[in-house]
């Protein structure tokens, strides 16, 4: 999924240089502190980050807004729609 105009993130999580499970761990830490409606942008170099975040958004009911391939990393944007009971 790629959008031409990425959303403005509420928080940017820079996980570049970390390997699995670094990016998804960093995303979860941001998720714990996020509010409904926030957009988290995850920057990652680990190739597993895309599929892990895709699977998590499908399972959790949060929205995968965009996956943007940059030259040496990927930007993954997630909008928080669901958190807790």
């Amino acid at each position: 999924m790629t959008t031409l105009e990425p959303a403005k993130p509420t928080v940017v999580v820079d996980s570049r240089g970390t390997m699995c499970p670094g990016p998804i761990t960093d995303l979860f830490r941001a998720y714990r502190n996020a509010n409904i409606g926030d957009t988290i942008e995850l920057l990652a170099t680990d190739p597993a980050a895309k599929s892990d975040v895709q699977a998590w958004t499908r399972r959790s009911g949060n929205e995968l807004l965009a996956i943007i391939d940059e030259k040496d990393h990927v930007r993954i944007q997630v909008r928080i729609l669901r958190k807790g009971r």
Binding site: G17, C20, T25, Y31, A55, R82, K83, R85
Partner: protein, 457 residues
């Protein structure tokens, strides 16, 4: 009279104890000549071999068997300050102790570890047992398991990050072993909950774990970030909106940085110290290092990584004190023992450049894990690093950098020393300690600091 160089190590866990002992080993002559002081600051009287918590919780081991007196592990050249650091001022280069005394430093190693933080999740402390906070808490797990006859037993990860990534999976395997040995396994539903997409976070090792969980009938609930626990209902809830009922809940709590890091405002939001992942130097401070769980670097929080990082920090400090141009860089090597039940174990092995490998559990690796456990106390002395080096292979790289003299005069002196050294056939890097000491002295004169801490301590 030349004033001594003060090296302070804050924290007496695996990394801190080893760091102090290694520094004392490599700077033995300077310490004897009263040119260097090595201080270990730690209020802990007891040193716990924390991987042993698994044995206490799931095999009934006596907690006293995994504990020794810290003072017995500290070398004679190390000045052991048996109280905790209350506050660290990196700019003023002062460690304030609980007693109110100040300890000034030229070099500092922050080895203050991590703190299990069950309070971060509502109801977790009251509703679950854990094997990460102490021997006594681990013993409660063993006591509860002995009473457990039937029902739903849930093991898992309550939050990230946490110490020892394999330990939650190890717990599930060992609970399964124990219940089978008691012949009550068929009356117990065993579930493993994890925030990760798979039973083990790193996929290559998850492929090893997954079929073994299936064989043993251990159910897995993925993407389960614990939001809260309701002890009265015996329910655990996830941020993702799911609910799991339990009869016995054994959870690894999320961890945070040490109180002193948070109070001193030298860490990030969760108290992890921003650290260069190669040199182990704290961002923005030339002579301050952080190692082990205390850092924010992207490797497992384990004793092995603390050990390997300690070696790098020590070499960099010794190199700086000696004025050599060698700089050591940690390569992110991890080597976590991973017990998978039935007296078999694997290791989680990887580095910054090498993704985690897939390694199968064997009896031999189990024996190695046990041997490492017995060998642990000796490794803290730093005298066995040659042997560990043979096992681990390359864990850091050594780079030669151009030494930067404190002033032009010293630069000329070093150049002359280099030429003389080349003519006489010795390495000039062995000689310039005097330059460094003078340089440090000059630094202190410039900053107007009291260089002799004995006046204030």
């Amino acid at each position: 009279m030349r004033l001594p160089v003060n090296i302070v190590v804050a924290g007496g866990g695996t990394g801190g104890t080893l760091t102090a002992n290694l520094l004392a080993k490599h700077l033995a002559s300077e310490i004897s000549d009263k040119e260097v002081n090595v201080f270990l600051v730690s209020g802990a009287r007891q040193h716990v071999f924390q991987p042993g918590y698994l044995e206490v919780a799931f095999k009934g081991k006596d907690p006293s068997k995994i504990t020794r007196n810290e003072k017995d592990l500290v070398g004679r050249r190390v000045q052991f300050v048996q109280e905790d650091a209350e506050r660290i001022d990196l700019k003023e280069r002062i460690v304030k102790l609980e007693s109110g005394k100040n300890l000034s430093f030229d070099y500092l190693v922050i080895a203050t570890g991590s703190v299990p933080n069950p309070e971060a999740i509502p109801g977790l402390k009251e509703g679950s047992l854990n094997f990460h906070t102490s021997g006594a808490e681990s013993r409660k797990v063993w006591d509860a398991l002995q009473q457990f006859e039937q029902g739903h037993l849930v093991v898992g990860i309550a939050g990230v990050p946490h110490k020892c990534p394999p330990s939650p999976d190890e717990a599930a395997f060992l609970v399964d072993d124990y219940l089978r040995a008691r012949k009550v396994r068929e009356k117990v539903k065993l579930t493993f909950v994890t925030p990760y997409p798979r039973p083990y976070p790193a996929e290559p090792m998850s492929k090893v774990v997954e079929p073994r969980f299936e064989e043993r009938g251990i159910e897995v609930v993925t993407f389960f970030n614990v939001e809260s626990v309701e002890p009265t209902k015996r329910e655990v809830y996830s941020l993702e909106g799911e609910t799991v009922h339990y009869d016995l809940l054994i959870m690894v709590p999320p961890h945070r940085g040490a109180d002193v890091v948070i109070k001193s405002d030298i860490g990030d939001r969760d108290g992890w110290v921003p650290t260069d992942k190669n040199t182990m130097r704290v961002d923005g401070f030339e002579t301050v290092y952080a190692i082990g769980d205390a850092t924010n670097i992207p490797v497992s929080k384990t004793g092995v990584t603390a050990h390997l990082e300690a070696v790098v920090a020590v070499h960099n400090i010794v190199s700086s004190v000696h004025g050599t141009s060698e700089r050591y860089k940690y390569n992110g090597r991890i080597n976590c023992p991973f017990e998978m039940g039935s007296r078999k174990a694997a290791f989680v092995v990887g580095s910054y450049e090498m993704p985690v490998k897939q390694i199968q559990p064997t009896r031999m690796r189990y024996a190695m894990k046990k041997a490492f456990g017995r060998f642990y106390w000796r490794t803290l002395s730093g005298r066995w690093d040659w042997l560990l080096g043979l096992y681990f292979g390359e864990t850091y790289k050594v780079e030669k950098t151009k030494a930067i003299p404190a002033n032009a005069k010293e630069g000329v002196a070093q150049s002359v020393a280099g030429v003389l050294g080349a003519l006489l056939g010795y390495s000039p890097t062995l000689q310039p300690r005097a330059f460094v000491s003078k340089r440090l002295q000059k630094n202190h004169e410039l900053h107007g600091r009291n260089f002799d801490i004995r006046g204030s301590f």
